[in-house]
Every structure is written in structure tokens, then in C-alpha cells.
Symmetry: D3
């Protein structure tokens, strides 16, 4: 009896798109307004999906509270009310596009969920844009 659980989280963060290996003109042309000097921000939506068998004793794949605790501890408390280019250890040296953030989040969670297998990270950058990474 395999099921998947999804836990939804939100965080408020700033970011600026920039490739340090390229010059200012290239960055401005490629990233446009997302390259503004001081950055901008989003209320990001994060969905974490895990998969596994239902434990017949509890009826749980895993307790949602436990899943939420891990996501908060490994990810959300590090990015909530932060600037993703400056304040987050595990994003150091990463150009914080939605794609790159999703991959970085995957790496933070992989292996941190003892009872379940990580299956999908969905990151909503706006209400109209989202990215999915499945490892």
C-alpha cells in the first residue's frame, strides 16, 4: 500500500539573479529586472512530496507533524525572512533561480526522512510560475 504525502510550506525571501562569472552587461541582458542591484522578493510556496508504505499499526506513511518538522528544520528556518544570495549557507555560490533553489532543497532533504523516500520538490516562485525537481 504505497502512498505519497505532500506537505506545503511558505517562506518570504529576497533574491537577485546573477552569474558571478559573467559581466554586468551579460547579467542585465539575461536576467533583466531580476538582476536589479538590491534584488526583489517572493512569498515562495514549497511542496515536499514523499513516498512509502502505510504502517498498518499507525495508518501513517509518516506523521505529517514529523514531515513538517524536518522540512522546517532543514529548509524553512534557514530561508524565512532572508536574502537568498547572502544569508543561507547551503545556497552559497548558487545563482538562486527557482530551478537551482529546488535542486538545493532536494539535497537538504534527501536522506533526512528516515521512513519515507523523497519523491518531488515543487517550488512556486509566484502564483503563475513553478518548478518541479524529482532527483
Amino acid at each position: 500500500m504505497k502512498v505519497r504525502l505532500t506537505s506545503i510550506h511558505h517562506f518570504a525571501a529576497a533574491h537577485r539573479l546573477h552569474n558571478d562569472a559573467r559581466d554586468a552587461e551579460w547579467n542585465r541582458r539575461v536576467f533583466d529586472k531580476c538582476n536589479n542591484d538590491h534584488g526583489h522578493g517572493h512569498t515562495y510556496g514549497l511542496e515536499v512530496t514523499v513516498e512509502g508504505a502505510i504502517d498498518p499499526e499507525t495508518g501513517y506513511l509518516m506523521d505529517f507533524k514529523e514531515l513538517k518538522r524536518v522540512v522546517e528544520d532543514r529548509i524553512v528556518r534557514h530561508v524565512e525572512r532572508r536574502h537568498l544570495n547572502f544569508d543561507v549557507d547551503f545556497l552559497e555560490g548558487i545563482n538562486p533561480t527557482a530551478e537551482n533553489i529546488a535542486v538545493a532543497f532536494w539535497r537538504r532533504l534527501e536522506g533526512a526522512l528516515p521512513r519515507a523516500v523523497l519523491r518531488r520538490i515543487t517550488l512556486h516562485e509566484t502564483q503563475k510560475n513553478s518548478v518541479v525537481f524529482e532527483g
Copy 2:
């Protein structure tokens, strides 16, 4: 031309998490506030996804009205404004975690949809938690 249709439903129900084979202390430790004596409740969101070929004559996989009729008849009218631990025949003896409810709903629908194959049950327990069962 295979497509998938998803129909969304809501129902308001109470439940209490409890494993009758274990003692009160175990249940309290494992299920915490979800084990409170009188239960609590949710506005559950239910998404039913079916798959099949488009009928060239109607342009339908199946009429959404027919899909909705089956889901209402087999599931929603049995759980709407009910306590899932006491009032629902097809949940008798089942600890009503989101995982177990999703599996029970699958069994209620499997085979009841003549023109389409059941592919997925998604049950939203809160706005932050959901479970998917695909058979």
C-alpha cells in the same frame, strides 16, 4: 488520444485517530491531539482522477457530470457531515488517517466507472497536507 480528468469535491467530517488494538497511552503518544476523545474535523478536499481515450463522437473521455454523480453516490453522500469513526459503513474498523481514507475511497470507486480507469485519489486533509493513492 488518452487524457485524464480530475473532479474536485469537498466534505465536512469529523474523525479521531485511534488503533483499537493498542492501549490508551500508546494511542495518546502516537496520535497526540488527533487522539482527543471526541475527535476533531476537517473540510476535506477530494480529487478523483480517471484516465481513458477521448470518444470521437462526444469529445468526452466521460461526462464530468457522470463522473461527479458516481463520486457523490459512492463516497461523498456517505461522509458529508459525518463522523468517520462511527457513521460510515465502508470505513468500519479502519483508523481514519488520511492514508487509510484514501485507500478506502479507491476501493469504493474502483470498478464503478464504466468508461474510464481510476488513476489517482488525492485527499487534502488540510490546506497544508495531502495524500495521494494510485492503487
Copy 3:
């Protein structure tokens, strides 16, 4: 410079509509499925609106964190994962219709917000039904 702040909260609770002063037949006729013996439940949405002047030093009417702390402390922790007919001191003896709950919540908050005046309680019972109480 008067503004209003609204803070949104959710809680998962069970309730049963019943007037203890009337007999079973009256209750069944008036409350129908909402009178089922074991109750049912909702993911309630609660919006608390306060009004006051912007403090020129902070730029706040009041810190949203402080507003949320008061609402959680006075209301949400008492009703989250509870049965409103049995488990909540300040609802004792009250038939928990949306209307009556909204009034009871108002009384819990009135006077508990030192920097702001309580203006409105909005309680969403389902995604289609809500009640507003303004004192």
C-alpha cells in the same frame, strides 16, 4: 492615519448543532445532518481585524506577530483539533453554530489587544459559508 490589520488563522475542529432545551425531533428537523449524534467537522478559517493609528516610530499599527500571538493564545490553541461541544471552556453551554462561535471569539479577544481596537471577526465554516460579527 488609521488602518486596519487582518490576521488569518485556521483550525480543525468538530461540532454538532444541538439545542439542549428542545427535544430530539425538533433538533433533527432544524439542524438536519448537522445534528448527527457524533458531529462532523470543518477546517475553519478565522480572520481577526483590528483598527488603530500607525505608530510613527515603528510604522506599525501593531506587530503582526503580536496580533497572531494573542489570537493563538486566546483562541486557536483552545479549539485546534478539538470537539467544540465538549472540549472548549469558553464554548460551554453554547450551541456551536458559526454565528455563536464568532460572538464567543469576539468576547475572548475584546480587551486583549492593548494597542488596537477589535473591529471584526470573520469565521469561514466552509469555502462557501462565512459569518461576520462586529460587536
Copy 4:
């Protein structure tokens, strides 16, 4: 590093379900209110999902702006504020069920996205009904 991007769009359109090869009685019986002479309408929600590798230089699969530009140019500007039975070249001769529209949209986008592979079209006809086509 394969990811999927989803871009969400809305458009306001009218449609009438009708199979020109069948008589009025058949159409009325099969399509019921959706066969009313002058049609009805929806605020359709359209989700376009593409897949591909992250470009290490930009951190993008593709720029969301570019994805949106293509979807607007190939689809949305042709259907926004239109009647799908009369006003849209690429729907001519098609009975505009959600299923058929999704397939027609796929054909408009396939091959128009140079950096990414089209993976999924999701069309929300109402807030309760959606169809998915994956080619």
C-alpha cells in the same frame, strides 16, 4: 539535472458543445445545458508544463518570461474574450470540450519551445473540473 517548469494562464471564453454530424435531439440529450444555442462561458485556467535540463550558465531551464511569451502568442491571444466555436482558427471544426481543447493547445505548442520539451497541458474548465493531456 532535469526539471519541469509550469506556467499558469487564464482566459475568458465562451463555448457550446455540439457535434455537427448528429441531430439536435442527440446533441441536446448528450450535452444537455452545455448545448444551449448561444453557448456559455468559463474563466479557463491553463497550465503548461515543459521539461529539460538546467543551463549551468543561467540557472534556467528556460526563462519563464520566454515560456509565457510563447504560450500567450500561440494560444492565449487567440482565445481571450472569444467564442471558441466561431472565433479561433485552430479550433475550427472541433467540438470544444475540455478534452478537445487540451489536445488542440498541445498541437499549437509542440515544437514551438526551442529549449524545452512539452510535457503536459492542464486545462481547468471550472474550479472543480480539469483535464490533462500529455501527448
Copy 5:
């Protein structure tokens, strides 16, 4: 103890903006794409707000089921899956802008709600546009 109840409804309809007293050129200039010959459509959202005292015996201002029944009977069944320019008696001769529809709905409901006073009609034409009429 005065409260307000709001009931939310949706309907799928087509409309075309047109002032029959003016010529085609004027209509095209003023209403632009909303003047297209065959019309377009929306999934309209309708919120009906009523006000009154809580009945101490029931704890209700009025039963939400009764409020919904009246709105469905007086409004929704007449506009659901219809073209507002052709199919609705009580909109005959009215240019169906959101503003005019809201006023027409008010007139359909005023006086039809025995226990409560109609206070507000909110009509959501899209997810970004709404109109409020309060009599």
C-alpha cells in the same frame, strides 16, 4: 447580536457587452474585445451577504441551506450555462456589465429573504476584477 452571513456561488455564463442604442463603431471602441460578435464567458463568483439578529433558539441568523436555496432558485439556475444576453428573462434589455448584473441580482433577491436583510452583492467577473453593490 447582529451578524452578517455570506454565501458563495459560482456559475459559468457567456456575455457580450453592447449598447443597442449606439452604433457598431461606438460599441467596438468602448467595449473592444468584450464587444466581439459571439461574446465570451466567465466562471463568475457570486457572494451574497445578508444581515440580521441571531435567533437564540437556533443560534442561526438563518440556515445557510435556506440562504443557498433562495440564491440558487432566484439567480443561479437562471444563469448557469447560459448566455446572459439571450437566455435570462430578468436581464432582458440590460447590457451585461459586471455592474449591471450585480444590480439585477440585487433586485432578484431583495425581499426574497424573509429572515434577513440583503446587504451586499459581490460579483467576481475574473480572479482580478470584482464589483460590489449595496442597494
Copy 6:
């Protein structure tokens, strides 16, 4: 026939809460994480509500397109993908709390809407927090 129209907009911006007249310790204590050096961000939701009479010739209070054009021109294009502490002329010297932003937006719009009276600015900072200013 007075009605109110509401137009909804979104923008992605960064901000940092800081009172320049007070020292670092005060700012840290009062604004906590919202005082982080590089700021953070939100997908702000902005609702602009105007009031006026329905023009009998058009059936409009004013064309939603015109209302949207003014809000985009006066506000949204100045704050979209910007840092509110550095990049916005009309916010210079203002500590960008939700309260102060709402007041500043009011001043940008007041008098810019020839056919209607500005009635309300609602600014959603997160999905759980909003502020209303009515002049």
C-alpha cells in the same frame, strides 16, 4: 446606482524594516528577522477599490482596463521586482511596513482616477496578513 469596483494586482518586491532615527539594537529588537541586513521579500497582493455611479450609456463605473492601467502606471511598474528601501522614488525615507506602503500607495492613486473616488487600498503582505487603508 453607486457601486464599488476592486482590481487585484500582484508584485514581487524585497524590503527591510528599519527606522533610521534609531540605533541598530532598537531596530533589531523591534523588527527582529524583518530587520535582517539584506532584507527579505514577498509576493504582495494589492487590491484597489473605487466607488462611483454606473454610467447608463456604458453600464460601467469605469472600464476595468482603465482602472488597471492607472494602478499599473502609478504603482505596480515602480515596485515590481524592486527593493522597496532603495529603488522606489515615492517610498524614499519611508520605513516599508505594510501600513506605510498602503498609505503611500493611496497617495499615488488619489486624484489619478478621473471617473471614480478611491475608497480602499488593501495590501496583502503574506497569505495570512493584510492591511487596509481608507484615507
